[in-house]
Subunit: 430 residues, 2 copies
């Protein structure tokens, strides 16, 4: 890997502390990812991306800035990348998946806060995330109490714009969201000096739809048995989608899917046919949070679907491309984004329907409901999802956890018991 120290210094990264992070990640990745057998060859691209996660991609962001592009960070699938891209900005999902950042977050946030939020804030405050350091601004949203209040703290340290996501999905809430997207557009126009055009927005809408399509293509391939790609690898692809160059990502992921299609034709998979198929539903998993997937896939089971924001919620439903003017464009955007069934909405019946549909589509044997600690909305929705799954005869366990490794053994025991039950039911021996 090239030496990026100078670049990091220019970004005011805390070099010494950041070195600590850089030392850990490669071995962590090797243990979890490179140890997998029978991986698709095209995963090499994503291996490379990870090996350069704070290097080459950050250099690309700096190069973009030299071309007068602004870098805009976000933390949530509701922030419309279409608008960001159409105003000649580079959208990046922000680091929030490592325990490394949690202690610094806890200096300004209560411990009883979800680890994703503590890690985000800690990443900024400790100056050890070059993505954060590259951002000209970040866009927060009012999706939960913790995030809503975290932006106030973050705003003391950098330029933050908050989008007020509605809490319901009535017609007037859609109008409110259209208005919020317009305000976001105004803020970005002011920031960049650019003007949003119908053509640009149309072009970028089609581009982001292409990204959604390739992710959908990848997920559709996971419906096969044997499954041609591990859940861990699919999760990684999803995670990288949040910050990689969008054109390259689409191309590379299509290449991966081509390879997976060949595998499917040859009835090849990464796990044996009839391996217990697990769906994970719940809160997002950002890099390098691979904890639950790793546990499942080292317990004689495979993750075939994630009903999460780093899974189906990120790519399901296209933005309609039939708009003939800007107002229609914004309405189409609102329709797509408010179609996401996040637990932040009340009510949120659509999520139960999604989960049940995915169980059928992905031939799911059992569900792991994963909630980040102190995430009230997802934790509270568990009872409803559990009830619906039980009525369908699908076993489910609830795992509430953070980024630490302390509970790994305990979680593994529970997952193994779940897998064992599925195997008995299917009549398959481990």
């Amino acid at each position: 890997m090239a030496d990026y120290t100078k670049m990091w210094q220019e970004l005011d990264v805390d070099i010494e502390k950041h070195d600590g992070l850089c030392e850990v990640l490669p071995m962590f990745y090797e243990n979890i990812y490179l140890s997998q057998e029978n991986r698709p060859e095209n995963m090499n691209y994503y291996n490379f991306v990870i090996s350069e996660v704070h290097g080459l991609r950050i250099k690309e962001l700096q190069d973009s800035k030299k071309e007068d592009k602004k870098v805009v960070g976000s933390f949530c699938v509701f922030v419309p990348d279409e608008i960001t891209l159409a105003l000649n900005c580079v959208p990046v999902g922000i680091c929030s998946g490592s325990q490394f950042w949690v202690p610094d977050g806890e200096k300004v946030m209560p411990r009883n806060t979800c680890p994703l939020i503590k890690a985000s804030i800690g990443a900024k405050l400790s100056r050890t995330c070059p993505y954060f350091q590259s951002c000209d601004m970040v866009v927060g949203e009012t999706t939960c109490d913790g995030k809503k209040k975290a932006w106030e703290i973050l705003g003391e340290h950098m330029d933050v714009h908050v989008m007020d996501l509605p809490q319901m999905k009535r017609e007037k809430d859609k109008l409110h969201w259209i208005d919020e997207m317009n305000t976001y557009k105004d803020v970005l126009e002011e920031k960049t000096g650019n003007k949003l055009s119908f053509e640009n927005l149309k072009e970028k809408t089609e581009l982001v739809n292409k990204k959604r399509k390739v992710l959908k293509r990848l997920y559709d391939l996971r419906k096969c048995d044997p499954v041609p790609i591990s859940g861990k690898d699919a999760l990684l692809v999803s995670q990288i989608a949040f910050y990689d160059d969008i054109d390259r990502f689409i191309e590379q992921t299509n290449n991966l899917c081509d390879e997976l299609e060949e595998r499917v034709k040859k009835d090849e998979g990464v796990f044996d046919k009839d391996t217990p198929r697990i769906m994970i539903t719940g809160t997002p998993m950002s890099i390098p949070n691979w904890k639950i997937h790793h546990i499942v896939e080292t317990s004689d089971a495979v993750v075939v679907c994630e009903e999460t924001c780093t899974g189906t919620r990120y790519f399901e439903n296209q933005v309609s491309e039939d708009a003939e003017n800007m107002d229609e464009q914004f309405e189409n955007l609102a329709n797509r984004y408010l179609g996401i069934n996040c637990a932040c909405f009340t009510p949120n019946e659509g999520r139960v329907e999604d989960v049940l549909r995915y169980v059928d589509e992905y031939k799911v044997d059992a569900v792991v409901y994963n909630s980040l600690q102190f995430c009230s909305t997802y934790a509270i929705e568990y009872k409803n999802i559990e009830k619906a799954l039980k009525e369908k005869g699908i076993p489910v366990i609830m795992i509430e956890t953070d980024y630490s490794e302390e509970d790994t053994g305990q979680i593994k025991t529970r997952v193994e018991a779940l897998v064992e039950m599925v195997r008995e039911k299917k009549g398959v021996m481990a």
Copy 2:
């Protein structure tokens, strides 16, 4: 006390379980309240109210229902009682302050949920709260993640209407809140068959303002040194304001204030002059949550103000009475309600200003920041309030607690240390 068993049975109260609650409360109240020395004589009214808390007041509600009034429960200071009253309904604040209800709440809610929410839900599910059982409907609001999702569960058991409180305070958010109040009006009109008139709303607006005025009068008297009423008693009056008959409450509380004025004239107080004066700021305390006040006032200090929803946030700011038509009425209501500086808003700078102003007005020596466990919004705001108070030289401690008594000793130790520090600073001996 009369025998209300038949009434409770008619309300489908779980009599046996409810007996368990009734057995505990009187002794609990006696220990905490009746043990106080030098109480104002007019506190006898509130003693009586508590002794009949599940009796006479519930009977009154049943009598109202016979007169075709609907009983409407709520959990939050944002639900506009003016509209409820003007449509000939009886608003009641709902039980949520006892550990007694928490285990039943935890059957359907995650343990990592604020005790107030768990207690509310548990009170309904266990059928041991005759207020809940008397309600024709309850009105929830989207003030926090936990409540927002709790209404979904509650809605499986009774008629629930949810008001979508905005998360910001911009002009468009005010319009949104006006619209939500109109929707609430529509729902109540449908429920009651009544029609909201300008005159009725005007009359009830003036009535609710009168309630606010008498509470303000009570609080203003607490600014004196020696303070003529204990914090515990003032809290009780506030708590009772949420569900007592409004006309009687205003009358009785004015009587109490008359007595307190006499005390002030005679320089009489419930605690010695120069007793350390504590302000409590944070989350609401509903009956019978007297935990922190009792600890403070048995530690040689007195609570002189609550910057909480069962304190200043409930009565500060009147609704302007200058409206000449319904639209203006609703705008005046919105202006008053969105003037409440609840941590559910982002940003919420107004709360820091309120806290600093009360420190001066109430001659506060130290602040106890009280947050119910797992209340993210208030817990996160602590850092900001702490910073502002420290800059002003006012000591502050953060107490995060639930309804159990397990941490009482630990909290008392911390409060005593705080009081000791204040005494040293003031040069007063205990």
